[in-house]
Symmetry: C2
Subunit: 410 residues, 2 copies
């Protein structure tokens, strides 16, 4: 891909309103741009990484036997009245009327829609369990949108809903999905902690959150004494190591919630009439669970964990490109040949812009592709500068393939 057409509008200065280093860096490196408070556009670089996170999420969901659907953002009021949440949900629910004055909300979550979707069809224990997920845009009218993609008003989530004939199946899936979530975050290069949480606006039997330890999160993560379970409390002034009123000591002053799991039970199926016939011929409400991953938040948490002062260094699984090829002079035939040769085997970004070396180096550092090949003064004599794994060295063109292969497999 040619950098001249990929549209990476980098900035020299940090935006004034960026409170988190990841937020500042994502804007400076041309990954995202604000369209309104808490509402962002993903630019090509940010979107390319986002798609890599989505691909990992899809891969793990398919391995577990989940099927992908796509539900609408517009949700009719009547479904939310069936569940009782139209009245119960706070001002975070964005509501609107159509031209015929019928009321809708912009979905912050899809328990009602999915329950209505399956309730006619999942009428027998023989058809259960079923696991349906989507990657979709959600809406929540935050009082104070902040930290860029972390607390936005329009955001991309993966949400999974599972349906069960009995508790054993519900519990088994609940544990399987938690294990899958750990694998997903692991593949994204993120360290997470699972903490117990309250069931909040989703409701149900129990809930957990996947937290990334960070300075910019909004929760305080506490580890309990005599227990392997952590829990989280609203942001406080407590520091790591401080004892906590509810027991345990503070593990991290702040955490970013990147995933959550809700063992719901029958809250929606009972109120919305989603019943099945069990193997004894008895009519029963379907047992449900729902599970979420903030896709944009995950991206932001990765940037937060992998950022340096000058830019970021992507984990290999999420890097927008494999190699950043940086010719310091206008692209001539030998550089073009090198680009073609690399492009045949790797995903390469070539900085073909008519810019000074300093501009190119600064942008490359901001963008953070882990392998850089620089065609500078020695190029006409068959040498390039090679940068990977934090080491910069001069390499003969003949040895470049081997160096790249080593760095890619490291």
């Amino acid at each position: 891909m040619k950098q001249s057409v990929f549209y990476i509008p980098t900035l020299k200065e940090s935006p004034k309103d960026a409170e988190a280093k990841s937020h500042a860096l994502m804007i400076r490196s041309g990954m995202i741009k604000q369209t309104a408070a808490g509402i962002y556009t993903y630019l090509p670089l940010g979107l390319k990484v986002l798609k890599k996170i989505e691909a990992i999420v899809r891969d793990e969901h398919h391995l577990l036997g989940c099927s992908e659907v796509l539900m609408p953002a517009l949700q009719p009021k009547d479904l939310w009245e069936e569940s009782g949440r139209w009245g119960a949900y706070g001002p975070e629910l964005m509501r609107l009327s159509d031209r015929k004055d019928r009321e809708f909300c912009l979905g912050p979550t899809h328990e009602e829609v999915i329950t209505a979707l399956v309730r006619d069809y999942l009428n027998s224990y023989k058809k259960l369990p079923v696991a349906l997920y989507q990657i979709q845009t959600k809406f929540r009218d935050e009082m104070r949108p902040r930290f860029g993609l972390m607390r936005g008003r329009e955001f991309i989530m993966k949400d999974l809903y599972t349906f069960h004939a009995n508790e054993a199946s519900l519990n088994q899936w609940y544990e399987d999905v938690k294990a899958m979530y750990s694998r997903i975050f692991d593949r994204c290069g993120l360290e997470t902690k699972i903490v117990a949480s309250n069931t909040g606006e989703i409701g149900g039997l129990e809930a957990h959150e996947f937290m990334v330890m960070s300075e910019v999160g909004e929760d305080t993560v506490v580890y309990c004494e005599n227990s392997s379970e952590a829990y989280n409390i609203e942001a406080t002034d407590l520091r790591p190591g401080d004892p906590c009123e509810g027991g345990g000591v503070v593990l991290s002053a702040e955490g970013i919630e990147v995933g959550n799991t809700f063992k719901i039970g029958t809250k929606y199926s009972a109120s919305m009439n989603a019943f099945f016939q069990d193997d004894q011929g008895q009519r029963q409400p379907i047992l449900m669970a729902s599970y979420g991953i903030g896709i944009g938040r995950t991206l932001m948490a990765v940037v937060e964990q992998h950022a340096t002062d000058k830019g970021l260094i992507w984990p290999k699984s999420l890097s927008p490109f494999d190699i950043h090829l940086i010719p310091l002079n206008p692209v001539d035939a030998p550089v073009q040949a090198l680009y073609e040769s690399l492009k045949a085997r790797y995903d390469v970004l070539i900085d073909d812009r008519d810019e000074r070396p300093g501009v190119k180096f600064n942008d490359a550092e901001l963008i953070g592709i882990p392998i850089k090949v620089i065609c500078g003064r020695g190029f006409s004599e068959g040498r390039v500068e090679f940068e990977a794994l934090g080491i910069k060295k001069e390499v003969a063109l003949n040895d470049l393939d081997q160096e790249i292969a080593q760095a890619m497999n490291a």
Copy 2:
């Protein structure tokens, strides 16, 4: 993929309110389900085909040098006031207020957002042309939503916006994108006609539409005398061959508009202050064009063109799976081994459900995967039934690979 978990809720009867055969078939075959009037959920089968259309669209856009972005659905009123469209757009524009009474619309198109996005950065002719596109969910409050995905209120579109320093570049891109659109629809197995159209709510210098001839469209397509250009008029009672008041004869009574192109010019750049410095140092408004493809509509048009009375037969490029493996008895070790062997090389759907053969055959016909392998009575003696290209025959297991390869390459 196991059919038991892929969630394909087929229906025996056509839904009463489905006016178009594609609409009825997509619901009967479990591809989509209505959530509210003009608002649909894509079920796993429908979404899988949708993603194949999206992949073709992305592939062609990347070949042309376009970069993908993702803009928000929520668009602030102030941007639409800058362009003058907040007042000009009709009741199709869905409007809402946030908790602080600031007004937004749900974007039916993104000229304002993208112009605001690039206007600070594209300040020199050296940075032009730029081509940015997205595949994103759009909203339009249709008075009469109908024909399923054809005239919906929430729908998926690809929209491309190009920015130019001069007319030559604008015109060249306009023709290049039209040629790309023809390739995209061709790869989707769709026959389309390009017709001249008015510039409507987008505005600009000229516009074209890509029409699929059909009985369920909403436009009458007319061919002009002494011209290679067609145009379209609002749906009338005219039949093919009838002369038309505006000149030419009716080519098709109805057409489905699957794509459109707008050579905009400076309408948005001039009103929204998106200027660049040209090679003479003069300040000029950026020249723009915008181009759309209805992704869901394209899917529906494909179904409309490829449907039979009993189901559909997918063009190979869009088939949700390569092979439908249909064991008539419970899946035993030899069937499982066949499935594993096929799965290693092809995308296979196996009907592992505990259902009668009649149910399996009916569903398979509805779903329309072009290659079917049926493990029935002869299977224990090493024979399967093989169905492809409309021909059904018995095949020895030893010859199956060759038959599949032939059918795949046909």
